[in-house]
Symmetry: C2
């Protein structure tokens, strides 16, 4: 029983070949499902593989095939519901296609951080990357870089010739704003996201356009940063406005608010609650994203649902199609996939 207890190395193809009594090439053929292998030898080889617990060495394979079967992702706020859902859908889709996904997360967007992230991924030989960093500067910085592999953006806007997937944020904003106007509100206020985020901008644009088309006054948008706290602050300001305008004109000028995401909407709700404003009685509120919690807010939040998982899947499909077409960095016919959001009406916007 010379059971070698030392840190014996993983078996190689040659080991399998020897056990099975064939050449290493035949083993390779069996593994590659090559048709021209006699059934009996195939069985023999499989048995040897089983017996030795053989696993193909991915590095050696990658070295010779020049394919690492690895994709990279750069993500930005990965603890938020949206980004993490996308990441999830993306990883699953990639795995189904036989790829591995390596993610690098950015604490905050800076050009340097983005470049380092991409560098890090390149070092590991990814075949392509998905960039989920929805800052305006990120996308233009990306366009500058000439990378030796395909890049796909998520929510990267339409202005640059980089293929990408996005949800039609503007449409979503139009849906909510239109919904609030239809409910009889004279106008709709807006708590926007950070101005350098493309999503924030698109939502702002959709909101403004809808108001203008309806001939409604466009009130100055308030500024948030996606966090509940910033929504809370904006909510306090709006609540103050309601109070003073009611006192001055006898009628409040804020009766409906479209908040650029659900988390901030939560903050606004709290501020209103503390100010004694009833929702939707005195002010109607709507959010964006439809996080799982939104249905259970006080009151349940009207919002716009985005199919994040679908975005992740689409980004992988797009990346793989680029990969197969051999299309490296440059792509003039930058494909874009747009996914439609859906309005979810709940009590926060219903007339009592």
């Amino acid at each position: 029983m010379s059971q070698n207890t030392g840190p014996r190395r993983a078996p190689t193809m040659a080991d399998v070949a020897q056990v099975a009594g064939v050449s290493h090439q035949t083993v390779s053929r069996v593994l590659a499902n090559h048709p021209n292998v006699r059934e009996s030898t195939r069985a023999e080889v499989l048995r040897a593989i089983e017996q030795l617990g053989y696993r193909r060495n991915s590095s050696a394979r990658a070295l010779v095939t020049r394919r690492t079967l690895t994709l990279g992702v750069v993500a930005c706020n990965p603890t938020l519901f949206g980004p993490s859902s996308m990441l999830f859908g993306l990883e699953e889709a990639a795995r189904d296609e036989g790829y591995m996904v390596s993610a690098v997360t950015l604490r905050r967007y800076t050009q340097k951080a983005l470049e380092e992230a991409i560098d890090h991924l390149s070092d590991w030989g990814v075949e392509g990357i998905v960039v989920m960093v929805p800052h305006r500067q990120a996308v233009s910085a990306l366009a500058q870089l000439r990378l030796p592999f395909p890049v796909v953006t998520v929510e990267g806007g339409h202005s640059l010739p980089i293929p990408g997937v996005s949800v039609d944020q503007e449409l979503g904003a139009r849906l909510v704003t239109g919904h609030l106007l239809a409910a009889g509100h004279e106008t709709v206020w807006h708590v926007a996201g950070p101005p350098d985020w493309l999503e924030a901008e698109a939502r702002l644009d959709g909101w403004r356009a809808t108001l203008e088309e309806a001939g409604a006054v466009v009130p100055p948008p308030l500024q948030g940063d996606w966090t509940p706290l910033s929504g809370y602050r904006a909510g306090q300001e709006l609540a103050g406005r309601v109070a003073t305008s009611s006192a001055r004109r006898g009628t409040p000028d804020v009766t409906a608010v479209f908040v650029a995401n659900d988390q901030m909407a939560l903050g606004v709700l709290r501020a209103f609650r503390e100010a004694g404003l009833s929702v939707p009685g005195q002010v109607a509120i709507a959010g964006f994203d439809d996080i799982p919690e939104a249905e259970f807010f006080a009151p349940p939040l009207t919002t716009v649902r985005q199919d994040f998982a679908a975005v992740g899947q689409a980004s992988i499909r797009l990346l793989l199609s680029r990969l197969e077409s051999g299309g490296a960095g440059t792509a003039d016919d930058a494909e874009r996939v747009v996914i439609e959001p859906r309005l979810i009406v709940r009590s926060s916007s219903k007339p009592t």
Copy 2:
């Protein structure tokens, strides 16, 4: 101008060597920061690298060094705040140490899915993995598997000889329950998580033990599944109990509820609101996790904060220490890192 426009292959070390007028080995030395290289040649090599845009081929490197510098993660509910925060902290820590992280996500736990996930990671030659699947069965299934690389669990319980990191869930539960008892409640009800989750069990245990030690009645725990909806259902049941007990005995038997996570607590809050029960006036509520939204619930939620990012970092440290000690699968002195949670008191539990 013989600019080769074809899909010219990435430059190799030999190319760099030729341009710099040295041998490929010298290039390798420069890249490895070997001390015995003359300053002038080092500069020459670096210049050639710059000029050619050379990047070391990670597959070739991995092949010869037998190190892929890649770690794997198996995660379970990656869209929740907790898991995604851990993933984030973990990835960052790994990157700081020069490792790449590849994550595989499980839609739902099954033994098969777990094994496939691990298989998938093994295929890519990870040097070790972190398993973030806090099911009882997952950990025992893991213990069965004899893997050729180190494994670290997150929230994997203490019963098995696998190194792991966890937050002291039981302590957290004790803190909340004790806090509620100290506020004068005769007993504390509990909405538990799914019974096959270790975290749910530990929180249940901590709650029960605290009640027993205080000589309080231990009411039957309600069952949830972490989602707001399940919390909502449990909340409806509890609200019903308040109503009938108040009617029958003149005094309600539910005055305080410890909900096993914040999302379910949100559901309970909604149910109570709909039933006309005031929080904390008639019933005090506390959750667990301290998700960013918790502070803005109606009312702001008392909860237990877990430092998820720290858990992720600790898991990487533990995995790397295992890796360096050469400790593969077997590890009798299974190290465990325990992180202490912190009670965060907000108005949902404050006596009016």
